[in-house]
């Protein structure tokens, strides 16, 4: 690697890529060449930076200047003013929404400064397609240590000491899983990485795979040594083509460097990894279903025991760890389990990555120490709810999780504490919802997802989720009956306690948690036939409140069905025979005049 005067760390993650970072790269390259700066200024396309909300983003190193929302037209000014004359461009810097002050350096922006990077320690710092850059950041040192200096028991001891728990959601101690597999009898064993990140609203695994694929491969090598496995699979969902591409590049490079294959680093240990692409089935995130899928079968779970540690893939002892879990492993081996456990709460150690999205100012990926409060996550890092709306709840854990309302915002991030308030840690999706989100509709949304993804093997999940969905749909359509809530509760309990796998057992969580905290909204839907958040079209009257209408005509201009009559200085009128209930008028009205 040549050391240049300036390194432009341009984000090439999925978010920035779709807002045009590739065009920015070409424009910058042209300008740099035009000024003969190719020897001095180097563009490095990195994986996801995490601050997806303001993409495309670029960090100029070594100064650490953070630029956001860069357009190709800005390239000329960037080169002229910043890279040649040394005057950074304020226009493209981050502005603190609270006081409008410009914050030039990335490390000073609240979104970044409250974070602790462990699983994501290399994000935005290395080119994920160049193995040397990973090695320069102590990459594969841990693998070398594990292979040459440590016994399987030493590795497991460090893992247990670190307290690292499965980051896929269930929170089972990784070290314990490894010990079971190590002790299991068998000549052939497997190490699997679960990169089938299916929870809607979770994208931390994608980001890690795109920005630092080698950390996951290194984690797998260490796991392989611990249980004496020689073959591994990374089960990645096909919706993540960039992650698959980068993983394959990383595996190829690791093979060329002798870090995968026979006799790794002269240790005599053999291990090989292959990427296996999923084909779009949420249930394949469940461990036994994932293994069936690799075997080329329908991805249906099987009852446990036998546990995968004894009889997993092709009935051989197998461990399955999530991407984020594996990305933490190399540092635990390098710095020791005690170091890792120095951060966190009594039962949850280390850090957790969250994908913050929904109605929040700073959408993106954040890594925080366990024990951080949810309030800090949403307000200090996330910047709170935009457009002066009111916070309503944050949904943690996706379709298996639940909502955390305002009064529990001070709950620390900890597997047990979050479960107590009715949500789960889950894989780390954190979707913020403001007061325009209907909680009944939200529960309906998750149930729709679950019943669609239910594999159909066991009756409670297959039929139960359908019945729950029907009840919720009726409520949203204004056809809810007295007694529906009680029936809903009963069904949820049955599905929870009698389903075969985790998908069904947790399927009712979104309903139960919204019932617990927002029962009044359910009641309003059933008894008053109104939707307090005005999200359910069937319960909106589509009439204009003449007392609130300011006669601005915005609704008229936006109506795709020509159903609104309006003239200047007159209250708008909606023709219900033409209205298609698309909510366009409601969304446009700034005065809340659509009833």
């Amino acid at each position: 690697m040549n050391k240049t005067r300036l390194q432009l760390m341009l984000c090439g993650g999925t978010g920035c890529d779709s807002t045009g970072s590739e065009k920015v790269r070409i424009a910058l390259l042209q300008e740099i060449e035009k000024h003969g700066l190719s020897e001095e200024v180097q563009i490095i396309v990195t994986g996801c930076n995490g601050f997806c909300a303001v993409g495309p983003v670029m960090v100029v190193q070594p100064e650490g200047i953070f630029y956001q929302k860069i357009q190709p037209e800005d390239a000329k000014e960037l080169v002229d003013s910043h890279f040649l004359k040394g005057t950074p461009i304020q226009r493209l810097m981050y502005k603190n929404p609270a006081n409008k002050k410009i914050i030039p350096k990335m490390d000073d922006i609240p979104f970044f400064s409250s974070q602790v990077f462990r699983a994501m320690r290399n994000k935005g710092l290395i080119d994920p397609e160049v193995i040397d850059e990973y090695i320069a950041r102590d990459g594969y040192f841990a693998a070398a240590k594990a292979l040459n200096e440590m016994s399987p028991d030493d590795i497991i001891k460090e893992m247990l000491e670190s307290g690292l728990r499965g980051r896929g959601g269930a929170g089972f101690p990784a070290g314990m899983k490894w010990r079971f597999a190590k002790e299991a009898q068998g000549d052939v064993k497997y190490v699997l990485c679960n990169a089938d990140e299916g929870d809607p609203g979770a994208f931390m695994d994608r980001s890690i795979l795109e920005s630092d694929p080698h950390s996951v491969i290194e984690g797998m090598i260490i796991a392989a040594k611990a249980i004496n496995a020689h073959k591994g699979y990374i089960y990645c969902r096909s919706e993540y083509p960039l992650a698959v591409k980068r993983l394959n590049i990383a595996i190829e490079q690791a093979k060329n460097y002798g870090l995968l294959g026979e006799d790794i680093l002269g240790s005599g240990f053999e291990f090989d990894v292959e990427v296996y692409q999923g084909a779009g089935a949420f249930v394949c995130g469940e461990e036994t279903a994932l293994m069936r899928s690799i075997e080329g079968k329908r991805g249906m779970p099987i009852p446990r025991p036998p546990f995968p540690a004894h009889k997993g893939l092709w009935k051989k002892p197998t461990i399955l760890n999530n991407v984020e879990t594996l990305a933490n492993v190399p540092q635990i081996i390098l710095n020791g389990g005690k170091w890792y456990a120095s951060v966190g709460t009594a039962t949850s150690k280390g850090t957790k990555v969250f994908a913050l999205s929904g109605d929040v100012c700073n959408i993106g990926l954040v890594e925080v120490p366990m024990g951080t409060t949810i309030r800090k996550l949403v307000y200090d890092i996330g910047g709170g709810v935009p457009d002066k709306r009111k916070f309503k709840a944050v949904q943690l854990g996706g379709p298996s999780g639940g909502c955390v309302p305002e009064q529990y915002l001070d709950t620390p991030i900890d597997y047990e504490e979050i479960t107590k308030v009715g949500a789960i840690m889950g894989s780390g999706g954190a979707i913020v919802m403001d007061n325009t989100t209907c909680m009944v509709d939200m529960a309906r949304y998750f149930m729709d997802f679950i019943q669609d993804e239910s594999c159909g093997k066991c009756t409670p999940c297959r039929e139960g989720t359908k019945r729950i969905l029907t009840l919720l749909e009726n409520m949203c359509k204004g056809k809810g009956q007295p007694g529906d809530i009680e029936q809903l509760e009963e069904l949820c309990e049955v599905v929870k306690h009698s389903s075969l796998c985790g998908l069904g057992q947790t399927a009712s969580n979104p309903v139960l948690s919204t019932l617990k905290y927002f029962r009044d909204e359910y009641e309003a839907h059933i008894f008053d036939k109104t939707c307090p958040a005005k999200t359910c079209p069937a319960l909106v009257k589509f009439e204009v409140d003449p007392n609130k209408c300011k006669m601005c005509g915005l609704c008229f201009k936006g109506c795709p069905a020509d159903a609104i009559q309006w003239e200047k200085k007159a209250v708008a009128v909606i023709d219900k025979t033409k209205c298609i209930k698309c909510m366009s008028c409601y969304d446009r009205c700034k005065f809340d005049a659509i009833m």
Binding site: D199, P200, E239, G280
Partner: protein
């Protein structure tokens, strides 16, 4: 495999059959490779007609029930023809909260196209997909390989009209 057993199908040309034979030959002896074979074959034909599934089952030496079982289980596989342009609308939570439902309704209003369907002229196919992991751009729509962020109901038709 001999040409004589290739079934006739209007959507599969003889070059496509050659590629399909190569795919089957490549994976025939790898256990658990049926999903990969189906994916690669779907890339060639753009969907999986039942004649093709019969052919794969024969070529791979697998029971037809297993091949059909896998093809119908995973949402990635389609047994019906696809349009020239595939619209994928993200129905993940973040996109849902940000209003993808209105966008989908607008697509239906304009093209009479529902999730999982194809327009009569085979111009568009619409798929609802689970989280694309681009929640920062919600609501997200992918047309072929182009990602479109912040696709409000008002913008969607304008974007789609560019795809003939």
């Amino acid at each position: 495999m001999k040409n004589s057993i290739r079934p006739k199908h209007p959507d599969i040309t003889s070059e496509m059959w050659d590629t399909i034979d190569e795919i089957i030959a490549k994976w025939k002896n790898t256990p658990g490779s049926v999903i990969t074979v189906l994916r690669e074959c779907q890339d060639v034909v753009r969907y999986l007609p039942s004649e093709l599934l019969h052919y794969i089952s024969y070529g791979m030496g697998l029971p037809l029930s297993q091949v059909f079982g896998v093809a119908t289980f995973y949402s990635f596989f389609s047994l019906t023809p696809k349009g020239r342009h595939t619209i994928k609308v993200c129905t993940g939570t973040a996109c849902y909260v940000k209003g993808i439902k209105e966008t989908i309704n607008r697509i239906y209003g304009k093209y009479n196209l529902k999730e999982g369907g194809t327009t009569e002229d085979r111009r568009f196919s619409l798929e609802g997909v689970r989280c694309l992991g681009a929640c920062g751009l919600a609501p997200v729509m992918v047309v072929n390989k182009d990602v479109h962020g912040a696709v409000s109901a008002d913008k969607v038709v304008q974007i789609l009209e560019k795809y003939e």
